[in-house]
């Protein structure tokens, strides 16, 4: 691939482009909904909040929804898979969530590709906006080297006041850009300017020193007192997992219609922090305590899956920290185990 060219566009043109795309795509963006700001479907670009505020859920819900039907069937045995994918544009996704998408992409595409997730991803255009400062006190993307997107987007926008510097990462992104956004050629210095601003915003905020060695370190610290300290406070309420952009465990359940003639198989978000998650026949539970479950969850982020994805699977978005009533934080745990 040739070196990506640098393009410039105005914010106005982007918003106008999104409104035009609305006839072909459903548009998702950060928007206000009563007392909260969330990623949601919008009807017009007026509804977009350009300034990021942490949301309870990440954009994961659009590719891997809370509940979805995967099969329809009749009692006579006619079974049809259900895969519902629409043309989507996700606008204004921030680096932590983009890294989250990248990790989910890898997980769902691996070996047996998950058709439901992948179909949705295939039909979507993800437009990222780079962050120029850390969004709040709970976010720690910079600690886990996640304040820059390593993937997960088709188009990336870098803020230059009333303009954006654009980078394109995929062919479908390129096509979308050409079709909907008016651009002018830009200079490498434009991008540098945007990046310099980011550098300024994140000044003094460094990644964990030994981040690459996390899998090793966590492997060695199976008996660290932190597991008991933090685990004993855990409510096993699963909030941390529900809000996490990189968690993807699910449960599958069959539901027959009331007349018992037809039915559906559905999957819904599940959570390894919930007490019944690893229970099997005869009541044996392979992870009976909150401490073990917390350990497993954090190991997935910094040990097992990190080794597989080549990057920390916690993207430091801070959502679980905000969500946890008991104040349990992957950052604090990592600090206690690996040092600041």
């Amino acid at each position: 691939m040739t070196k990506p060219e640098i393009l410039i566009t105005t914010k106005k043109s982007i918003l106008k482009g999104l409104d035009q795309a609305h006839s072909t795509y459903r548009i998702i963006a950060l928007t206000r909904n009563q007392e909260r700001v969330i990623y949601d479907y919008i009807n017009s670009s007026d509804e977009i909040e350009l300034e990021y505020q942490p949301t309870v859920l990440s954009v994961k819900k659009f590719f891997f929804p809370q509940d979805e039907i995967i099969l329809d069937y009749t009692v006579e045995g006619k079974v049809t898979p259900r895969i519902e994918a629409e043309n989507l544009v996700l606008f204004g996704v921030r680096p932590c969530d983009l890294n989250g998408i990248k990790i989910l992409d890898e997980a769902f595409a691996e070996s047996h590709g998950d058709p439901n997730y992948l179909s949705r991803r295939e039909k979507s255009i993800v437009i990222g906006i780079d962050c120029q400062k850390v969004c709040d006190k709970d976010a720690f993307c910079y600690k886990v080297d996640s304040n820059e997107a390593k993937g997960g987007f088709d188009i990336m926008l870098y803020d230059l006041e009333d303009r954006y510097v654009i980078q394109v990462a995929s062919a479908k992104g390129q096509k979308f850009l050409e079709r909907y956004f008016e651009t002018t050629p830009g200079l490498p210095s434009d991008l540098e300017k945007a990046l310099a601003k980011k550098k300024e915003g994140f000044k003094g905020l460094e990644p964990f020193k030994n981040l690459e060695k996390f899998p090793e370190i966590f492997e060695k610290n199976k008996d660290h007192p932190v597991w008991e300290e933090e685990g004993s406070r855990c409510l096993s309420c699963g909030s941390c997992i529900m809000v996490c952009p990189t968690c993807y465990c699910f449960d599958v359940a069959d539901e027959l219609a009331l007349n018992l003639k037809k039915g559906q198989r559905m999957r819904r978000w599940d959570a390894c922090m919930l007490s019944a998650f690893a229970e099997v026949a005869g009541g044996e539970n392979f992870r009976p305590t909150a401490k073990e479950r917390l350990h497993h969850r954090i190991d997935r982020k910094f040990n097992f899956l990190m080794a597989k994805h080549g990057q920390a699977v916690c993207v430091g978005c801070g959502r679980c920290v905000r969500a946890c009533l008991a104040d349990i934080s992957p950052k604090v745990i990592a600090e206690k185990i690996t040092g600041k």
Binding site: G113, G151, F250, D254, R267, A281
Partner: protein, 285 residues
Amino acid sequence: MMQLDLQPKDEKLYLPDPVRIVEIKDFTDKERFFKLEILSGKSLGHQPGQFVQVSVLGIGEAPISISSPPTKDHFFDLCVRAVGNVTNKLHTLKVGDIFHIRGPFGHGFDADIQQRMQGKHLLFIAGGIGYVPLRSLINNVLPEHHRYKKISILYGCRTPKDRMYQDELAEITKMGGNVELFETVDRTDETWKGNVGVITTLVPKVELDPVNTITAICGPPIMYKFVLISLMERNIPKDNIYMSLERRMKCGVGKCGHCQMGGVYVCQSGPVFKYADVEHNEEVF
């Protein structure tokens, strides 16, 4: 930047295929044998040790080991213990009834392992329903027993009534030669003349040359710990021990997260594991 392929490869990943029950045998009041025919006419194409996700529409799915050896035809066997929603429902079905399966899934006794077994002493240790997954391998090697140094099968049940595949067990006893079968029960009754005691009491009865012995184990969770101790006492290398493990499963294809033990997915890296590979995984035992 690396572009990941997001093409959905398998639109039918979660679509189960119909199978028809052609034979049913009740081993015990909880365990039932099914011989099944794949309606599409295709053969299952499995390795010994793999499993299928059994679907009863309207009830749910459950992972069940394939208990017959690989074949070219479109028949295979399952043996199901009734413990919950899906398995109880399976026990209400009759010959001719249809249910569904997905798979085969998982990593069984693959070609490499089978290659390693050539010319070696094979030691099978099965507790209760653990005989089921091992049977796909046992019945695969028995007809070619001469290609192995020896085949020893240790089988333990709670009571004589719980013994499954009694006809086949009788056949195996008759084979003689380099094939031997040791059985034990935890609790005896008047019909039983054999060994009484837990399965580890059988291990010392087998004559073996540790480095040339390859072991395959399957049974209830607590069995592993004790069997492994007795195998260690007999100096069998950890590299020569395979075990088939069970966990809760929802998808069977490495996504849902339920079967994870530490970092490994049982449905992908397992259910057959080499002891040496999982020895340090705290969640295995």
